[in-house]
C-alpha cells in the first residue's frame, strides 16, 4: 500500500468538495474492492475520502412503488431487509449470495454499482429492474449508467448516493459462480416490470447488458418455452482460463431459464 491522506466527511457536499479538489483522491465505502487493490499497489490515490460517516447515504425505504436503498447499505442489510424481501425478494436473494459473510458485512451497494465489475452481482439487478441511480449531481437511468468494464456514467467527483428500484411484478436471479473467485461467470436477472420485461446479463460479458431477444420473447409469452430456442451470441463475451466465450454464452441461456423459474 502506498501512503495516502485520509478524510471522513459527514455530508455528500463535503465529500464532493474533497473529491473535486484532488483529481487523485478516491472515495471508499466498504473497501472490499478498493483495499485489496491498494494492498497490491495497483492503485495510488493521494487521499481517501471515507464515505461511511455520511448519514444521508444510509438506509432502505419504500417510496410509493419503489424501494430506495442508500449507497452505504451493506449487502447483508439488503439481504435481511424485510422491506426488500417483501417487495423484491429476488434482490434480497441476490444480495445474500454475494461473496461470503465477511464480504457481505462490509461491501456496499454503492461501492459495487460504482465499481461496475463485469463479474459483480448488483449491476444485473440495477439494469434488470430498470433502476434509477441517484448521484450527488443527478439521476441516471440504469440503461445510461453502465458504460463498459469498470466504467459508469459518473464523473470522478460524483458520488453515488442511492439506488431507486421500481417494484416489479415478478423478478428472479440466477448465476453460475466462477469456481475460483466465486464472482459471477454468467448471471441473469429477469423482471416483469411496469415498463415491460427486462433481462439483464452479468458476468458473461465485459459489462452487464440486456438480452433483448429474450425480453421480446418473454414479453409475448412469459414461459421457459419462449426462451428455450434463443441462443446468446458468444461474440464479444469474456473468455479466460475458467471458460470460453461459447461456454459463457451457453450459461446465459441456462441462467436465464433458472432466473425465470425463480421469478415464477
Amino acid at each position: 500500500m502506498y501512503d495516502f491522506s485520509y478524510h471522513k466527511p459527514s455530508s455528500v457536499a463535503d465529500a464532493v468538495k474533497l473529491l473535486a479538489a484532488d483529481p487523485d483522491a478516491k472515495a471508499i465505502s466498504g473497501g472490499h474492492t478498493l483495499l485489496p487493490a491498494l494492498k497490491h499497489r495497483l492503485n495510488k490515490p493521494t487521499s481517501l475520502v471515507d464515505l461511511s460517516g455520511i448519514a444521508e447515504m444510509k438506509g432502505i425505504k419504500r417510496e410509493g412503488n419503489a424501494i430506495i436503498i442508500g449507497a452505504l447499505t451493506r449487502h447483508v442489510e439488503v439481504a435481511n431487509s424485510d422491506v426488500v424481501k417483501g417487495a423484491i425478494p429476488a434482490l434480497a436473494y441476490l444480495a445474500s449470495h454475494i461473496g461470503d459473510n465477511q464480504v457481505r458485512n462490509r461491501g456496499t451497494i454503492g461501492g459495487s454499482v460504482s465499481n461496475n465489475d463485469p463479474a459483480a452481482d448488483y449491476p444485473s439487478a440495477v439494469l434488470g429492474l430498470g433502476a434509477t441511480i441517484h448521484t450527488s449531481k443527478r439521476k441516471i437511468a440504469a440503461d445510461d449508467f453502465f458504460l463498459g468494464m469498470f466504467t459508469t456514467a459518473m464523473e470522478a467527483d460524483e458520488i453515488l448516493v442511492a439506488v431507486e428500484f421500481p417494484i416489479p411484478e415478478k423478478a428472479g436471479y440466477a448465476k453460475m459462480k466462477n469456481p475460483a473467485s466465486r464472482y459471477v461467470m454468467a448471471g441473469a436477472f429477469i423482471a416483469k416490470t411496469a415498463s415491460g420485461v427486462r433481462v439483464a446479463i452479468n458476468g458473461a460479458g465485459p459489462c452487464v447488458f440486456r438480452q433483448t431477444a429474450m425480453e421480446a420473447a418473454l414479453a409475448g409469452n412469459w414461459s421457459a418455452a419462449a426462451i428455450a430456442g434463443i441462443k446468446q451470441d458468444a461474440d464479444g463475451l469474456n473468455s479466460d482460463i475458467h471458460g470460453s466465450a461459447e461456454y459463457r454464452a451457453h450459461l446465459v441461456g441456462v441462467m436465464a431459464k433458472r432466473a425465470l423459474a425463480a421469478a415464477g
Binding site: 500500500m1 499497489r41 453460475m176 469456481p179 475460483a180 473467485s181 482460463i241 471458460g243 461456454y247 450459461l251
Partner: protein
C-alpha cells in the same frame, strides 16, 4: 492411591494438545517473531519468465528513505559461495549422472522464471523496502520462454541452462524392458492411455517466512524459518551454500502453518537473509505475501505420460510400460529429481501382481517455478495413472471394474511381495479394504441412485481406486545407493525429569499433523506417564539431536519408532534402578505401564514410576558403581524398508449437464495405515488429504501461458477447495500391521491425497459413460465437462 486414570495410550481419541494454542491465536509462527533491531527485506522478482540481465541499477533505490542495504545477484556471486543444492542424484539410462545446473541464491546473468529473485532490498520497514524495490532499474533482454513439457523438448526450443542440453535433466528408467516386450508380443489385449497429471500450487495457510541473524560475539548464525526439517536446512545451507560450520548455525522452525511438502526444501530466501545478516549487522526478516507464495513456493505434480497395459484373456495384467515426462521447473529444488523417479515409478505395481513393468522418465527444465514434492510426491501420479488405466482396461475388456481389480490383487498370503520395480511390500490386505469400502459406500445400490438422479436430470457416477503407497522412505543405505544425498533415519530422545514428567525430543517436525498429541500418547502408552505430563519438543537444532524432519508420512513409522526404542532403553534402565531399590534381581522386575509401577514378579512389592525417576536424579540409594545416574535416552532408527499403506477410495458424483458442474455427493475411504495411535487424528489426516485430492481432481489447475506468465497466480484464479466443494468423507481403517517396525504403523499423512484423485475421475468418467468419454484429465472443471458434453451433442 489415586483411582485408575483413564487410559491415554494407543488407540484413544485424545484431543489434540496443540489445538488450544492454534485456535486461540497463541501459536508462535516465524512471522509472529520480531528480533531486536530487526530489518525487513523484500525480494525484487523477475516479471519475465526468461531474460538476460544486462544491468541492475540500485542507485535511486538505495537513496530511498529507510533503506539499509540492497544486494544483487552480482553481490552474492562476488562472495563465491554456493548455489542451492539438489538432494538426490539421478543417473541416466546410460549410467551417466543427471545434468545439474546451478541454482543461484540471487539470479545473476539470467532470470529463468517469473518470480526469480534479482535483488534483495533491506530496509527499516517492509513498506520502505517495497517502495525502494520499485525504484530498482533492471535492464532485461527478454528471451523466448518455454513453460510446457513438450514445448521444452521440441526441436529449437528456448534453452534454459548451458549445463542441460535440450532442457533435459535426466533420462532415467526402471524395470526390465525385455520381459515387458515379450509379454506385450503375446498379449491377448493391450490398453493404452495418454494422460496428464495437472500441476498444483500447494498454498499452505502460512506463507513462507525467514529471519536471519548473526551474533558477532559468538560468531553464531540463527535462522528462524518455516521449515518441515530444520536439520536438513542446516546441513544444506551450512555445508553447501554459505559455508557456515554446523556448530555455528542454528535453525529454528517454530509453529509452522502447513507445509504439504512445500516447506521441505531449502529455499533461496533462507540463504539470502542468513548471508546478508552479518553484512547488515542486524537481523533480517522476510515474509512472503500470498502472491509470492503462488510465484515461488515449489509447485507439485506436472507429468505427461503414456501407459500401456498388456492383459491375458482372463483380464490378468501381464505387463506395464510407462513413459513419463516430468516438469522440474526452472531449477532443481531440493528433492525434485527423486519425485518423478524413485517416489513414482517404483509404485507402478500398485496393488497388483503385474509381473513385468518397465518405466522411462524424462525430466525437463522449463521457465516455471521449480517443481518438487507435494503431499504424496510421486505416489499420487503413479496411482492416478494406474487406477485410470485399470478402469479403461475394465471397460475395454468388458470385465467389471471391481472384478478386474480382484483378479489382479496381490493376495494376503503373497506377502512379503517383491514387485518388478524394486519395492518389497511387507503386508496388506487389499480384498479387505475393497470389501469394506464397497459395503460402506453401498456400491451395490448405486444403479438405483443413478436412476433417481437421472429423473432429476443429473448424471450420477461412481468411481473406485484401490491404491497402494510407500511411506517412510528407507533404508538409508539403499536410498544412498540410488542417489539420495541424505540419511533417512530418525532420532528420538526421551528425557524423564526427576519428578516423573517427560520431555520428548524428536527430529521430526509437526506443522499441523498433531505430533505433540500422537507422540505424547505413545509415551503415555509405553511409560504410563499421564498424557498431560508429556511435552514434545521439535524444530530447533539447538535443542534436538540431528534428525531428518517430516515428509513422506515418516514421522510415526520412523520417528515414532526411534521414540519407542528410546523408551525401551529408559525402561531397561529404570528396571535396574527398581531392582536395586527392591533388592531383587533385574530379571524379576516387571514394568506395568497402566499402573505406572515396577514390580517384583509374583509379589506385591513395587516401586512407583515417580520414585524411580527421582532416584535416578537423586542417587542417594543407587547402584552407582554399575549404573550412571539420570534417565534420559536417545535412539536412532534407520528402517529396514518403506511402509506400505494401501486401501480403497470410492467417490460418488453428480454432474449437472446444463452447466458441467460436478458435485461431490459422497466419499468413502477405507485405508490400511497400520496400527492407529489416535483414530481422530488419522481421520483428520485422511479427510484433509481427500480434500486436496478432490481439489486436484475437480478444481486446481496451475496455468502458465506460452510466455511463462502464471495465469493462476492468485485465489481469484486458482481454485482451492472450499467446504462446499467437498462431500461427507467417511473414513474407516482396516489394519494389517507393518512387519518391520515395533508399533506396526505405516503412516497416514498422504493416503487421502494419493488414493482419491483417480476415484473422483473414475466417477466422473462413469457419470459420462453415455457421452462416449473414455478419459479426461484433471481438473474436471465445469467448462471442461460442458465442452465434452456439448461437443458430443453437437456431433450427434
Amino acid at each position: 492411591m489415586n483411582a485408575v486414570a483413564p487410559f491415554e495410550g494407543i488407540g484413544v481419541r485424545m484431543r489434540r494438545k496443540e489445538d488450544l494454542r492454534f485456535l486461540s491465536g497463541k501459536g508462535s509462527y516465524t512471522d509472529d517473531m520480531s528480533r531486536p533491531n530487526q530489518t525487513h527485506c523484500v525480494f525484487l522478482r523477475s516479471p519475465h519468465a526468461h531474460a538476460a540481465i544486462r544491468s541492475v541499477d540500485t542507485a535511486a533505490a538505495a537513496a530511498m528513505p529507510g533503506v539499509v542495504r540492497i544486494f544483487t545477484g552480482a553481490d552474492y556471486a562476488a562472495d563465491k559461495l554456493g548455489g542451492v543444492p539438489c538432494g538426490w542424484l539421478i543417473h541416466n539410462k546410460d549410467g551417466s549422472p543427471m545434468n545439474e545446473p546451478p541454482h543461484p541464491v540471487l539470479a545473476h546473468g539470467k532470470v529463468r522464471y517469473v518470480g526469480d529473485a534479482v535483488a534483495m532490498v533491506i530496509a527499516e520497514t517492509r513498506e520502505a523496502a517495497r517502495d525502494a524495490a520499485e525504484k530498482i532499474v533492471v535492464d532485461y533482454d527478454v528471451l523466448p520462454a518455454v513453460a510446457g513439457i513438450n514445448e521444452a523438448l521440441a526441436a529449437g526450443a528456448p534453452q534454459l541452462h548451458e549445463a542441460a542440453p535440450r532442457n533435459i535433466c535426466y533420462d532415467w528408467h526402471i524395470g526390465e524392458k525385455g520381459p515387458v516386450d515379450v509379454a506385450f508380443a503375446a498379449a491377448h489385449k493391450i490398453v493404452t492411455l495418454d494422460l496428464t497429471n495437472n500441476r498444483l500450487i500447494p498454498n499452505a495457510m502460512e506463507p513462507r517466512a525467514a529471519i536471519g541473524e548473526y551474533d558477532a560475539h559468538s560468531g553464531e548464525y540463527t535462522l528462524h524459518t518455516t521449515s518441515q526439517n530444520p536439520h536438513v536446512i542446516r546441513l544444506l545451507m551450512g555445508a553447501f551454500v554459505l559455508n557456515i560450520p554446523e556448530h555455528k548455525l542454528r535453525i529454528v522452525a517454530p509453529d509452522v502453518g502447513g507445509g504439504f511438502g512445500s516447506k521441505i526444501f531449502h529455499y533461496i530466501e533462507e540463504a539470502a537473509v542468513t548471508w546478508a545478516a552479518p553484512k547488515v549487522g542486524r537481523p533480517i526478516k522476510w515474509t512472503a505475501d500470498r502472491t509470492e507464495a503462488f510465484m515461488t513456493d515449489a509447485h507439485g505434480r506436472d507429468h505427461i505420460s503414456t501407459a500401456r497395459l498388456a492383459l491375458d484373456k482372463d483380464g490378468k495384467f501381464l505387463a506395464l510400460h510407462v513413459q513419463t515426462k516430468a516438469n522440474l521447473g526452472a531449477y532443481l529444488s531440493t528433492f525434485a529429481t527423486s519425485v518423478p523417479t524413485y517416489l513414482y515409478a517404483t509404485l507402478l505395481a500398485g496393488t497388483y501382481t503385474t509381473p513385468a513393468i518397465y518405466a522411462e522418465v524424462t525430466s525437463v527444465f522449463t521457465n516455471t517455478v521449480p517443481v518438487d514434492a507435494y503431499r504424496g510426491a510421486g505416489r499420487p501420479e503413479a496411482t492416478f495413472l494406474l487406477e485410470r488405466l485399470v478402469d479403461v482396461a475394465a471397460r475395454e475388456t468388458g470385465i467389471d471394474r471391481v472384478e478386474i481389480r480382484r483378479r489382479n490383487f496381490i493376495k494376503p498370503d503373497q506377502f512379503p511381495y517383491q514387485t518388478p520395480v524394486a519395492l518389497q511390500y511387507d503386508s496388506g490386505n487389499y480384498f479387505a479394504t475393497l470389501d469394506a469400502a464397497l459395503a460402506s459406500s453401498d456400491w451395490a445400490g448405486f444403479e438405483a441412485r443413478r436412476a433417481e438422479a437421472a429423473k432429476r436430470g443429473k448424471l450420477r457416477g461412481i468411481g473406485i481406486s484401490t491404491y497402494l503407497e510407500a511411506c517412510g522412505i528407507a533404508p538409508s543405505a539403499v536410498a544412498g545407493a540410488l542417489g539420495a544425498r541424505a540419511g533417512l533415519y530418525e532420532v528420538g530422545a526421551i528425557r524423564v525429569h526427576p519428578t516423573g514428567s517427560v520431555t520428548v525430543l524428536t527430529g521430526t517436525h509437526s506443522h499441523g499433523q498433531g505430533h505433540e498429541t500422537t507422540f505424547a500418547q505413545l509415551v503415555a502408552d509405553q511409560l504410563g506417564v499421564p498424557f498431560d505430563k508429556v511435552d514434545v519438543v521439535h524444530g530447533d537444532t539447538s535443542k534436538i539431536p540431528f534428525g531428518m524432519g517430516t515428509y513422506g508420512s515418516r514421522s510415526l513409522p520412523v520417528g515414532g519408532t526411534a521414540l519407542v526404542k528410546a523408551m525401551d532403553k529408559i525402561i531397561a534402565k529404570a528396571k535396574r534402578i527398581a531392582a536395586h531399590l527392591l533388592e531383587a534381581d533385574v530379571a524379576d522386575i516387571e514394568f506395568d505401564p497402566r499402573a505406572g509401577a515396577f514390580k517384583v514378579a509374583g509379589t506385591d512389592r513395587s516401586k512407583a514410576w515417580g520414585e524411580i525417576a527421582l532416584t535416578a536424579y537423586v542417587p542417594h540409594n543407587y547402584p552407582i558403581e554399575e549404573l550412571e545416574p539420570g534417565l534420559d535416552e536417545t535412539a536412532y532408527y534407520d528402517p529396514k524398508n518403506f511402509t506400505f499403506p494401501g486401501g480403497c477410495h470410492i467417490a460418488e458424483v453428480e454432474i449437472d449437464p446444463d452447466t458441467g458442474h460436478v458435485a461431490m455427493i459422497n466419499f468413502t475411504a477405507v485405508d490400511d495405515v497400520g496400527r492407529v495411535i489416535n483414530p481422530m487424528i488419522v481421520e483428520g489426516q485422511v479427510q484433509g488429504g481427500v480434500a486436496q485430492g478432490i481439489g486436484q481432481a475437480l478444481l486446481e489447475a496451475c496455468v502458465y501461458d506460452a510466455q511463462g506468465q502464471l495465469l493462476s497466480g492468485s485465489m481469484m484464479d486458482y481454485t482451492m477447495p472450499r467446504a462446499d466443494d467437498l462431500a461427507p468423507v467417511s473414513v474407516a481403517t482396516h489394519t494389517t500391521l507393518c512387519t518391520h517396525n515395533p508399533l506396526g504403523v505405516k503412516g497416514c499423512g498422504e493416503v487421502g491425497a494419493i488414493g482419491s484423485p483417480p476415484a473422483v475421475i473414475n466417477a466422473v468418467v462413469d457419470a459420462l459413460r453415455d457421452h462416449g468419454v473414455r478419459h479426461l484429465d484433471m481438473p474436471a472443471t465445469p467448462a471442461k465437462i460442458w465442452s465434452i458434453i456439448n461437443t458430443r451433442m453437437a456431433a450427434e
